[in-house]
């Protein structure tokens, strides 16, 4: 299905509620993300950003409400959920590369085991993707031999190899040394330009201004504000967003 013929948002959360024990981590969350849209999620620590992101591929199950990906309700744990997860790429703060596999094997595992591509075909595509994110010459190394920035770019290539409909990024640059942040953000910016649908949790406001169509501000498990980056950064409406921005923009 192409975005032109799609009648529904690519990702849709409605009335989502989640509790960890007594803690209400997602409260009345409604969010619709169209194909090709780049949504940056920001908010203070513990506001539920990661939980929101992880709920979209059901790494965290929710207790109430609905989440749909490309119109399909998230299935219960099982084969159907695995199939849906294959269409939702995820990039983690700590990269989570498979330590016992080479860079190339990290990228081909999903296509071979889940998409049932031939090894030759998967290798070829993986090398293209590794070239694209700028680590083509590291293909035969193990993750531990790479810098953090390189590892994260491999993780992005690994997710892209599944041809996902949407990519989720949970603070992809927070574990990186400052000099490596930009190499990862550049890859993400170019993905955004190429029309990838993205949900990005980040504190990198430069990236949000440059690449986002929309900024979603969370606090206490709620979406407090949702606006285009220009509006959000120059004229935030809620006090909590103003307060948050004043704290992070002053350094």
């Amino acid at each position: 299905m192409t975005s032109a013929t799609r009648q529904h948002p690519l990702v849709e959360l409605s009335g989502v509620q989640k509790w960890f024990g007594d803690l209400h981590v997602l409260a009345d969350v409604d969010l619709a993300i169209d194909a090709g849209e780049v949504v940056v999620v920001i908010g203070p620590s513990g506001s539920g950003k990661s939980t929101l992101c992880r709920a979209i591929n059901r790494l965290e199950p929710i207790q109430q409400g609905e989440i749909r990906v490309d119109g399909e309700l998230l299935p219960e744990e099982g084969k159907a959920l695995a199939r849906l997860r294959a269409d939702v790429g995820m990039v983690f703060q700590n990269f989570n590369l498979f330590a016992h596999k080479t860079v190339l094997q990290n990228v081909t595992l999903g296509p071979v085991k889940v998409r049932h591509r031939s090894k030759g075909e998967a290798d070829k595509r993986a090398r293209e993707l590794l070239d694209r994110v700028g680590v083509g010459n590291q293909a035969d190394k193990y993750p531990a031999q790479l810098s953090g920035g390189q590892q994260q770019r491999v993780a992005i290539a690994r997710a892209l190899a599944m041809d996902p409909k949407v990519m989720l990024f949970d603070e992809p640059t927070s574990a990186l040394d400052p000099e490596m942040i930009n190499e990862v953000l550049d890859v993400m910016t170019s993905l955004a330009r190429d029309g990838m649908t993205m949900v990005v949790i980040t504190h990198e406001m430069g990236f949000a201004r440059r690449a986002a169509n929309r900024v979603v501000f969370m606090d206490g498990g709620r979406i407090v504000e949702s606006a285009d980056p220009e509006t959000f950064f120059t004229r935030p409406t809620s006090d909590r967003a103003k307060d948050f921005l004043s704290k992070i923009l002053t350094h």
Binding site: E77, A82, M90, F92, A99, G110, Y142
Partner: protein, 216 residues
């Protein structure tokens, strides 16, 4: 050492019977232990509960009690097999709990984020376990698993004492009680028989340990 040399054929038979007990039990407890470990980490709560029940039961019951249950309890339930079968079964049930715990500890040593990454690529539970978690768990699993298995090799003597005639331990018993040989030389022979199994096994384990440690 004449009791040993005089009865070398008995010793060889005993050695081979012990070896059979050990080989069957080894295969059985590894397979069963892997299944129980998979239950223990499964996302399905009833399977997890079953795994926990299994491990708690067999790890906390003396081997002799498990053997009595198999050899004398199961026939009362209408299951009739040889003592050899029941003996091996008991040893497998008992050891599987320890194998499962060693494997589970190895699984837990693999960072949870890698399993999450695998699942978010669309790999199901068994593929995640097989392609991502277990190969890395193996590194941590081999040393404790080795101790569990060598303990099992030695426990095969308990199975022998339980009436599986003809194993190394029973050979020693017969030679001392029925034929009046002195205990010391006879059981030195028995001990040598077990060492012939456990020492090479220990060496083999070290080789495997070194192999998996190098493989990333």
């Amino acid at each position: 050492m004449s009791p040993v040399l005089d009865n070398l054929d008995l010793y060889v038979d005993g050695f081979l019977t012990s070896l059979r007990i050990i080989v069957y039990s080894l295969i059985g407890c590894l397979l069963l232990g892997l299944i129980i470990a998979a239950c223990r980490v499964s996302p399905v709560p009833p399977l997890r509960a079953f795994g926990t029940f299994w491990v708690t039961t067999f790890r906390n019951t003396p081997l002799t009690v498990v053997l009595v249950f198999c050899a004398f309890g199961l026939p009362e339930l209408g299951i009739n097999r040889s003592f050899f079968f029941f003996g091996v079964l008991g040893l497998i049930l008992y050891t599987s709990a320890f194998v499962a715990e060693a494997i589970r500890a190895g699984i837990n040593s693999v960072p949870a984020g890698q399993a999450e990454a695998a699942r978010s690529l669309g790999l199901g539970f068994s593929l995640t376990l097989r392609d991502v978690v277990l190969p890395q768990a193996l590194r941590t699993v081999v040393p404790p698993l080795g101790s569990v298995l060598i303990a099992m090799f030695k426990n095969s003597a308990v199975v022998g004492a339980f009436g599986v005639g003809g194993d190394l331990w029973s050979t020693g018993q017969i030679l001392t009680s029925a034929r009046g040989y002195e205990t010391l030389p006879v059981f030195i022979g028995v001990a040598i028989g077990y060492l012939l199994i456990t020492l090479p096994a220990g060496a083999l384990l070290q080789v495997i340990e070194r192999k998996v440690a190098i493989a990333r």
